[in-house]
């Protein structure tokens, strides 16, 4: 079965979810593009969009239509060539509409798992629950006579466990997209010693065709991305708990969030990132990873507390941000949750006081937006952090310690064999988390 044949019948499990819908979109476009090749004309292509939610599937088609249109607009030059034989399609708009129709025609929204029994390739993007994943894949494999390949989007569950428990005989690998899959270029590819080699090669070609940057990660819970993010988040939470002994909780969250964003020059503060991913998801991933870790307790009572009182973060179905550690207005944080009063306190009430306590910023001109695309950013950061190192201010010290911790986490991922090398760790953080510099650097190890 060659690449094109493999992609003739595919199922995405959890297709209406945040990750599933993106995976479905990219796969539908890849399949439609294959179907337009002269040698494939007239051959049936089928992509089952499987999800339990009827409502979600209805929204999925709207999402697909909008997104496929955007994708088509960017490749109209190519599309005109593909539809050159269609005399009835003359204007760009006519060609584009036909293409959108052709992509959507491949997609079959279904609520029953039986649809996957004829597929050659199955993407699994259901919720991050090992037992559910194992149950679904096992059920499909027992009923599918094609010996299909399984790509799981898990961000934390070791692949060998899924393989063994679902009895898949090496026909599963980790293909971890970042959110949102249609935009984020990073894919973590996780294989085990038993992984089918032909499938691994297929995964690489598929990723390349989707124009993704593939970083191999070894099969350890959390892999590289969450391996860094979870520990980094836990450090931030512990710093808040430490500062909370000297200042109110809201102010401590404000300070550490600001340190991560402005002092470590990241695209957003760490608590905003936790809210974006979802406090529930972060808690869940920590719980999945923790049993696999020695001498390390990846767990936060604070997250449990927030979950207990229903502060969860994450996104609404329209993509807007739900309140979590922070409260948002038009996507911007405006207030911080106070654990004592269980209500949000406007940031403006204490921001000046906190800013004063943090002291001087090494160079306000160095921010994420202005630096991310600079060619000389290595030098800019070297000077920036050297200045920070020499400063006595509280903010500078907090940031230096935070940067050191991020650096340690990076090294830990390499030393424990999660990542093959420091470049892979840095690529994940640069590409998947849009950091302006990788965690493995020389900026924070100054004497």
């Amino acid at each position: 079965m060659n690449y094109d044949e493999r992609l003739r019948n595919v199922t995405v499990l959890g297709a209406a979810g945040k990750m599933g819908s993106g995976i479905l979109l990219l796969t539908a476009v890849e399949m439609a593009d294959l179907s337009l090749k002269p040698e494939n004309k007239g051959k049936p292509y089928c992509l089952n969009a499987m999800d339990l939610s009827q409502e979600g599937l209805a929204g999925l088609l709207r999402y697909l239509k909008t997104q496929v249109t955007k994708i088509a607009e960017k490749k109209i030059v190519w599309l005109r060539k593909m539809y050159a034989d269609r005399a009835d399609l003359i204007e760009n708009e006519e060609i584009l509409n036909q293409y959108v129709f052709d992509v959507l025609s491949i997609v079959r929204p279904v609520t029953k798992i039986e649809a996957a029994y004829e597929s050659n390739l199955i993407f699994e993007a259901v919720s991050e629950n090992k037992d559910l994943k194992v149950k679904l894949l096992s059920q499909i494999d027992q009923n599918n006579s094609n010996s299909p390949w399984y790509f799981t989007n898990t961000s934390s569950v070791p692949i060998n466990i899924i393989d063994n428990e679902a009895n898949l005989g090496g026909r599963v690998l980790g293909f971890h997209f970042y959110n949102p899959p249609a935009v984020q270029r990073l894919v973590e590819l996780i294989v085990t010693d038993g992984t089918n080699k032909e499938m691994e090669e297929f995964a690489k070609v598929y990723a390349k065709n989707l124009k993704k940057v593939v970083v191999p990660s070894n099969d350890y819970a959390g892999f590289i991305g969450n391996g860094h993010f979870m520990r980094d988040a836990l450090y931030a939470i512990q710093e808040v708990e430490r500062l909370n002994k000297e200042m109110p909780f809201t102010e401590a969250v404000y300070c550490i969030n600001k340190i991560a964003q402005d002092y470590l020059v990241r695209p957003m503060g760490i608590f905003q990132l936790i809210d974006y991913v979802g406090i529930d998801v972060v808690q869940f991933i920590m719980n999945v990873m923790n049993p696999f870790l020695d001498k390390e307790d990846l767990h936060s009572d604070l997250l449990d507390q927030l979950m207990d009182i229903g502060v969860k973060g994450g996104q609404n179905s329209d993509g807007s941000q739900k309140d979590g550690f922070l409260k948002y207005e038009k996507g911007r944080p405006v207030a911080i949750f106070d654990l004592e009063t269980k209500s949000y306190v406007e940031t403006s009430a204490f921001a000046d006081k906190c800013d004063q306590a943090l002291g001087k910023h090494p160079n306000p001109k160095v921010n994420w937006k202005s630096t991310i695309r600079r060619k000389d950013k290595d030098q800019v950061f070297a000077e920036f952090f050297a200045t920070m190192h020499s400063m006595p201010d509280m903010g500078a010290k907090l940031a230096m310690n935070y940067g050191k911790r991020s650096n340690e986490i990076g090294h830990q991922l390499v030393n424990t064999g999660v990542a093959n090398n420091s470049i892979d760790v840095n690529t994940v953080m640069l590409t998947g988390f849009f950091h302006a510099y990788g965690p493995i650097n020389d900026y924070f190890v100054l004497n």
Partner: protein, 415 residues
């Protein structure tokens, strides 16, 4: 072309801002003013320079594709929208693709020559940022023969002129040609920076030559032989002016020192269903320009400045050759040597042309005449060039489609 049988003047020119990418106030995601706003603003801008709108006899409006960009036809009905004193008077709209503005000038001119009007409000308008460029390309492709659309490029007109550029590269050398095209772009930006209504007025690129070099030819995402910097802008805008006889000027209270005279003109059509006879020559422009010069009784050596239709940088260079400033193949060198810059032998497109000022398609012909009026009457502000008394003439060349509909006019300051 017969000599003009009476003197016809242009005065009271007005340009709206050319709105689109490049202007800081432009936000494609926000609702923007429509066709009505531009017609009204340009029309009122011109009327503010005359004593009484009641003294205007008729209106002409040049527009290319409001029927598709704005889903609006019957544009003559917007002339009375400008001023209620224009209601119950004649008005007409004319279309000849990007030459619509030039046709509006010709229509006004004919009314005055025919003595059916002493004064005409001539206006050109286009509002084309209503859709993304790839859909706009479908609309603009209407300037070509529809039966050729299927075989054309996604970006139809850039595709047509990319083919012309490709033929020029092959014949005379690619690097050589692109040097000339680069200088054309640089001149356009530098001139636009001097005109506050220009779309590239706020352009601050420190090194325009380096900027041009940064954009690489890429046929997979655009066309083979042009980059976006070789192309005119997608613009919303309108321009207006008064065209009048001597009596008309008097009735409107316009001093002759504030007017220019049309001393020669030509309008030429090429069969739209044929391919251009020579891809490295703009044959219709060549014919129209020389007929207009002949009609004015002057040579190119007497021209102080020209507004030419540089919808693409290559069209600018071919225009220079068609006018006779350089032999075929030598136009790129002429431009590279700076002869068309504002301080060169023949300053061309002194407020940026279609690449720098902007290209609201149906308005461009009128905008060109307004620019020449400004230059010859000393009203061009920071963009003003010196007009040598030995070379007192200005010229406009407005083109519709791929060298299909061409209008050329020659002007001098009124005496």
């Amino acid at each position: 072309m017969k000599k003009l049988r009476k003197k016809v003047y242009i005065a009271a020119g007005f340009n709206t801002v050319s709105m689109g990418t490049g202007r800081s106030e432009f936000n494609p995601k926000k609702e923007r003013p429509g066709l009505e706003y531009y017609i009204e603003t340009a029309g009122k801008g011109t009327l503010a320079q005359v004593n009484d709108a009641d003294n205007i006899d008729e209106g002409v409006i040049g527009n290319f594709m409001a029927a598709r960009f704005n889903k609006q036809a019957n544009l003559p009905g917007f002339i009375p929208y400008i001023d209620k004193k224009l209601e119950w008077k004649p008005a007409i709209s004319v279309e000849g693709a990007c030459g619509s503005g030039g046709l509006a000038l010709v229509t006004g001119l004919k009314s005055v020559l025919a003595e059916t009007a002493d004064s005409v409000l001539v206006l050109g308008v286009e509002v084309q940022n209503t859709m993304k460029a790839l859909y706009g390309a479908d609309v603009l492709a209407g300037a070509g023969w529809y039966k050729k659309r299927k075989e054309g490029h996604a970006f139809f007109f850039p595709g047509q002129f990319s083919n012309r550029a490709g033929a020029y590269y092959e014949k005379y050398g690619k690097e050589y040609a692109r040097e000339g095209m680069k200088r054309w772009f640089v001149n356009a930006m530098e001139n636009a920076r001097l005109c506050e209504t220009a779309q590239e007025y706020e352009n601050k690129a420190p090194d325009l030559y380096a900027l041009y070099d940064k954009f690489k030819l890429n046929g997979e995402t655009f066309v083979d032989n042009l980059t976006v910097l070789d192309c005119s802008k997608v613009s919303d805008g309108a321009s207006a002016l008064i065209m009048a006889s001597e009596e008309g000027l008097g009735k409107l209270g316009i001093d002759k020192k504030d007017a220019i005279e049309i001393v020669g003109w030509a309008q030429v059509e090429r069969n739209i269903t044929n391919e251009p006879p020579n891809p490295t020559e703009v044959t219709t422009i060549k014919k129209a320009a020389h007929e207009a010069l002949e009609s004015a009784g002057i040579t190119i050596d007497e021209l102080a400045t020209i507004e030419t239709h540089d919808c693409f940088s290559i069209a600018g260079i071919l225009g220079v050759e068609a006018l006779g400033f350089a032999e075929p193949g030598k136009g790129a060198q002429f431009v590279t040597d700076g002869h068309t810059a504002r301080d060169g032998k023949i300053p061309i497109n002194t407020t940026g042309g279609l690449i720098g000022w902007g290209h609201p398609t149906g308005a461009t012909g009128v905008h060109q005449a307004v620019t020449i009026w400004e230059q010859l009457t000393g009203k061009a502000g920071p963009a003003q060039i010196e007009i040598n008394p030995d070379r007192p003439y200005g010229m406009t060349i407005n083109m519709g489609g791929d060298d299909v509909t061409v209008i050329a006019m020659v002007y001098k300051k009124a005496e």
